[in-house]
Symmetry: D2
Subunit: 106 residues, 4 copies
Amino acid sequence: MTDDLNALRRRLAEFAAARRWQPYHTPKNLAAALSVEASELLEIFQWLTPEESSRVMADPDTAHRVEDEVADVLAYLLQFCEVLGVDPLAALAAKIDRNERRFPPV
Amino acid sequence: MTDDLNALRRRLAEFAAARRWQPYHTPKNLAAALSVEASELLEIFQWLTPEESSRVMADPDTAHRVEDEVADVLAYLLQFCEVLGVDPLAALAAKIDRNERRFPPV
Amino acid sequence: MTDDLNALRRRLAEFAAARRWQPYHTPKNLAAALSVEASELLEIFQWLTPEESSRVMADPDTAHRVEDEVADVLAYLLQFCEVLGVDPLAALAAKIDRNERRFPPV
Amino acid sequence: MTDDLNALRRRLAEFAAARRWQPYHTPKNLAAALSVEASELLEIFQWLTPEESSRVMADPDTAHRVEDEVADVLAYLLQFCEVLGVDPLAALAAKIDRNERRFPPV
């Protein structure tokens, strides 16, 4: 319940407000931070073979790092959406609708 | 209802399966695709001032582009989480808990 | 001669000046543009196997795309170095020196 | 002399060979590493105003960090070009030629 998407979005907004971080949270800065965090996730995989990349969760330290970077990517995505008034779930639902027409199943 | 996070996750998994795209969806490839899409979102903002970046949704074409890239980032994040069995909401809730201890409010 | 690194750096500076693009060329914007172009290079490879990635130059269209993105990455790197007064060759020589001490040969 | 571009390229190739890192240096992995390093450079700037971003070299620690990330970006760009046989200077010269026709001066 407390960890559904909207609740997390509100917690992130309150977290930033309580620390007076909003002046830093321009859409441009949040888009940069999102891309930096997505690269930190990629960094975990950059030298791995495809097969090794499928087994990263077997190592507890790497699993924790993966979860931590996933959290950072989602956090900045939600904060970006918050400041611009974008609904990420509606945006994704609309995109899947378009892609179902664009790429017919095999 | 159909556009909640888990429903979207299932739709994305079915979409990839129907097109036989799973062999491409290694964690490494999905992390690369996620970072590429996050950069495409950043590209919209790269030459804008902070003030201009706050007004991007006023232009319908740019607003659509922003929503489209947000959808792509979320799609690859969910697909990445799907193949590795990561719960992104639980990961973010745990991260906010840690950050609340790490960065006390002002 | 005309295509050595310093000559290219000067051509890029003159190119931007002639188009009055310097106000956009803050270090922050150029760092964002560099990272966006590096992602466009990665995009070419994101779904390829390691083996396929080694053969990209065999296809003339893909080869041209690779060269084009390499040019964009180098262009923004040189322009970034120009506005901050960084010497990229000296920076790399110093880094290799450090790495030779840090990672002894096998 | 020792720090011209081709000399650096050779030093990087010898460095990787002496450590038996070549199996990891597929074009795909090097493109990923390049994009990760470009993001690390962007990270330095992500919360800065345009004005602050112009003053980063005034702080010795930040200046060192900037030079270090520039070195990493250039290193992976040269190693990427090495494994695919791309001439980065020729690619950039050709691109500037095209852009001079595409974007007439003001």
